[in-house]
Amino acid sequence: MQWKSGQVLVLLLIATAPGTAQHEDSVRRVFRPVVVEDTLLHEIMYALPLAQLPRRMLEQLPVVNVADAIQGLPGVFVRNYGGLGGLKTVSLRGATATQTAIILDGVRLNTATNGLVDIGQIPTALIEQISVERGSRGTLWGAGAMAGTVLLSCRQPRRGASVTGVLGAFGERALTVDVGYHHQQHQFGVIADGVYSQGNYPFLFNQFGSWQRIERRNGDAFLLNAALQWQWKLADYGNSLVVILRSSQRGAPGAVLQGAIEQTAARLDEQELFAIESFAAGDDTNPWRLRIAARWFEQLYRDSLARFRGPQGAYDRFIARDFVAVVEAPRIQLVGWYLEPKVEAYYNTLRGNLYRFGAGSFAERLQFGAAIVAGGTLLDAGSSALIAESGFRADLYSDVADALTGSVQMRWITESPIGVRLSAGTSYRPPSFNELYYQNFGSIAVRPERSYDINAGVMLQIGHLRCDLDAFTMWIRDQIIAVPRSAITWSVQNAGKVLSRGAELYIQWQQSLLSVVSSLTYQLVTYDDPTAFTYGKQVIYTPSLLGMVRTTYAVGRHLQMLATANYIGKRYSQTDNAPSSALDPVMTVDFSCRLAIEYAGLQGALTLDLLNAFDAHYAIIRNFPMPGRAWRVRLLVGWNPKR
């Protein structure tokens, strides 16, 4: 373990904190909750910029998965390979998907296998709220929370039942069943969501000098998700069990090339069982929490045409098992400061037939993490306050280098409608099993990635207008990147230094019937090794400019119209940013119209979605075309008994 200046600074801040600090909740008196329809609005000012999508908003948006839902939020860019079954990962502030932690009910979803999460496989039907926090959170969430964190909450069991059916373009069919039952202190819920798409959307492609309209092949996908929930609450004890079952069968089409389409016979089958048991004991507002999670995941990749793997093609099976235990102690009040300790243990295993020649096909990792966060009010002048929080975390690994992280955050708030925040932190990401062991690709020599970031922001709230402006800089060293060793073979190494800096603007204006939400992100994400010829060049597939405007208009009590425009700026597929490798900026516009009625506990909602209404032809990743214009009809019928 090595001590870094940032970590030392954090410890010093903790050690020298004044003893007269007050509780953090004093913030709430300034930024009271604002009753709005679009609850992207924060109730309080957070130390890091945060955007939230609550359940109500998720139901209104023309989206079916987390990837579609978060595109357009400040700092968010979803790297999308197209179609329902195509890989979709999140990039925050230009970082990679492995540098963003995805947390479900307090448990990190990023696997040791590859470090990333395909957020296109998480249906919004199972989600109560999505929060995207930008900035390092390594002290809280550990590995991978370098550029930010996507926090997901499972749907809460509700009394009643509902069925939602979906019909859409390109053979899309979906059915969601949601049943909840409350009995005394117990709440039970079952949500099942199945969706199928043929995925044969047309796209334009220049082949041998002429533009042709081609249909996407092998893009079909069948995704089945179910969540079983049981919550049990007594005066000083609470229990929550969530079991998520997932099964998917989908095509894994590759790049569309002149004269050939890659992986037209490649199939990916996945089965997953994920259970999270949460106990809370003690004071209801400040309990002990214990979270235990277990995950079993099996993946089978087949491609009968992958002749480079043999006459029968590829047939690769991977089985991952993960066990997690997290203990969060109650907040400790200590000489005016509060302390929040937390310990975690992760055990990950992976069995597969493409690992470590001659050394078996099994990999395992044991990780222990301990974190402590200290906070309080540094200065309280009555009409304004300066609130500080510092964190420190140590992670010990069985197979890779250990890591220390630290952070410090400050907020200055006043009774005037303005607040200021400043934070700095360090974070890390250990190499994944793939990066360490995958045949002809991994290297046991790779070290953990490191990041250092600073965020400064101001929040303004005047009447119906809310505005957040944040500036950031993030420096990543030892970035693990796949380096081509020839035109067709790649392997990993700690070759990357990346500097990301930029600004994010979020504006919301709302009155009773009309609301407008807009975000604008400008980021310069560049290679930062002065000795490399790519120094100062824009990181591939990272647009400098991202924007979103969403307008919602209510017509009477029952009808709501929604329009969303998403802009993705120019990005490059070559590291030298050769003009020929530029992918043009693109703007897509979605419309949605929802008619909802409710009578005597019965509810019904009919939603019509028109996606990519102006039929933009584009690709986020070169040669992986995105769907053009598409439609979707959603019908919900439900029963929601009142107490």
Binding site: F208, L257, Q258, R307, V483, N623
Partner: protein, 362 residues
């Protein structure tokens, strides 16, 4: 008398006519044509990016056409992963592996003059022109070779030879085909790691020459009497050596074998064999090795490469006996062509497309 004169005149006329139609072997040789000093560089592009290209370099003026094929063909793409080039007169044939095409272009204009399109698993890789009516190309995942007519620019037939064919060389009636087996991936299959000897008349494999794991390249000596093959180590056995084998083409017997960390871009030029000292364990080459195979005991001479270069291939420059070195940099950017002297000194540098790998100089 008059008839005799007419007969003589006719005879003389016929003689003149026949003389004029006879082989030009009796003509005085034309003055040697100065080389055009032009190179066409094949840029592989990045896998799955559809950005293979051709770069044209005019050494006399220093002019570089980065995407010469696109510019000459109204922006048309060459395709995905180009790997080789061969000349027949004013026509160049470029294998575009992932796009499953052989693109034929006029080397004066860059314009496409035809295309051979493959189907199924056949992906053209290495190519050689045998005659005006026969060309041979390996089909890699097609596990064989394809015979094509370079004049008519059409496919003739395919011949199955073994798993994952890469290099090919033709002498006389025989094609020597490297069945690499893609190293570890298909090493257990029959004929992996062998050189198939194909009779081009019968279009049958006559025999298999044992080589070594992952045999990838084959070249012939200038007199066509010796065949040299490069085999690469297996990733599963990182400590294993690789090397070069020498065969007698007449008897098909192995004559010599040099086991060392070398190989890649195997070439024969003026009695010597040239190859990178490419080390697959570090994915890098620091030298071009020269083997004087006329000697009984061969000790390769190292010609150092410039530092900071990702050597993706080289060709010997017939204009001056130096080298044309292809620097792929990070394989995701436009590369460089470095003109080296015969001792490895950098003489000139030119831009080119992504991952340059082969070239023809004329």
């Amino acid at each position: 008398m008059r008839s005799r004169q007419i007969l003589l005149l006719l005879s003389a006329g016929l003689a003149v006519f026949l003389w004029s139609c006879s082989s030009n072997s009796t003509e005085p040789s034309p003055p040697p044509k100065a080389p055009d000093s032009i190179a066409i560089v094949v840029n592989q592009g990045t896998f799955g990016q559809d950005n293979a290209s051709l770069t044209r370099i005019d050494f006399r003026t220093g002019a570089v056409d980065l995407d010469w094929f696109g510019a000459a063909n109204n922006g048309q793409k060459l395709g995905a992963t180009a790997n080789d080039i061969a000349l027949k007169g004013d026509t160049a044939f470029i294998t575009v592996t992932s796009s499953k095409t052989i693109e034929a272009i006029n080397i004066r204009t860059g314009k496409s003059v035809g295309r051979i399109t493959f189907t199924g698993q056949n992906e053209p890789w290495r190519i050689t022109i045998v005659s005006s009516t026969l060309g041979v190309v390996t089909t890699t995942n097609g596990d064989g070779i394809a015979l094509f007519d370079p004049t008519a620019i059409r496919l003739i037939t395919t011949v199955t030879t073994g798993p994952a064919t890469e290099g090919v060389a033709v002498v006389g009636n025989y094609a020597f085909v490297a069945n690499s087996g893609y190293g570890d991936l298909r090493q257990g299959e029959q004929h992996a790691g062998t050189i198939a000897v194909v009779n081009l008349s019968t279009r049958q494999v006559e025999r298999y020459l044992p080589a070594g794991p992952n045999v990838r390249e084959v070249v012939l000596s200038e007199d066509g009497k010796k065949l040299y093959a490069f085999y690469q180590h297996l990733y599963s056995k990182p400590d294993s050596l690789q090397g070069i084998i020498e065969y007698d083409v007449q008897t098909f017997r192995e004559l010599r074998r040099w086991r060392l960390r070398c190989g890649g871009s195997l070439q024969f030029y003026r009695g010597a064999l040239y190859a990178f000292d490419y080390d697959p364990a570090t994915y890098s080459a620091k030298n071009i090795l020269r083997f004087d195979v006329s000697q009984q005991n061969v000790t390769p001479t190292a010609i150092p490469l410039p530092t900071g270069v990702t050597a993706n291939g080289f060709v010997i420059n017939p204009l001056n006996g130096g080298f044309m070195l292809f620097d792929a940099r990070d394989y995701q950017s436009n590369g460089r062509v470095l003109m080296l002297s015969s001792t490895g000194q950098v003489l000139q540098e030119f831009r080119c497309g992504v991952a340059p790998v082969r070239a023809v100089i004329f």
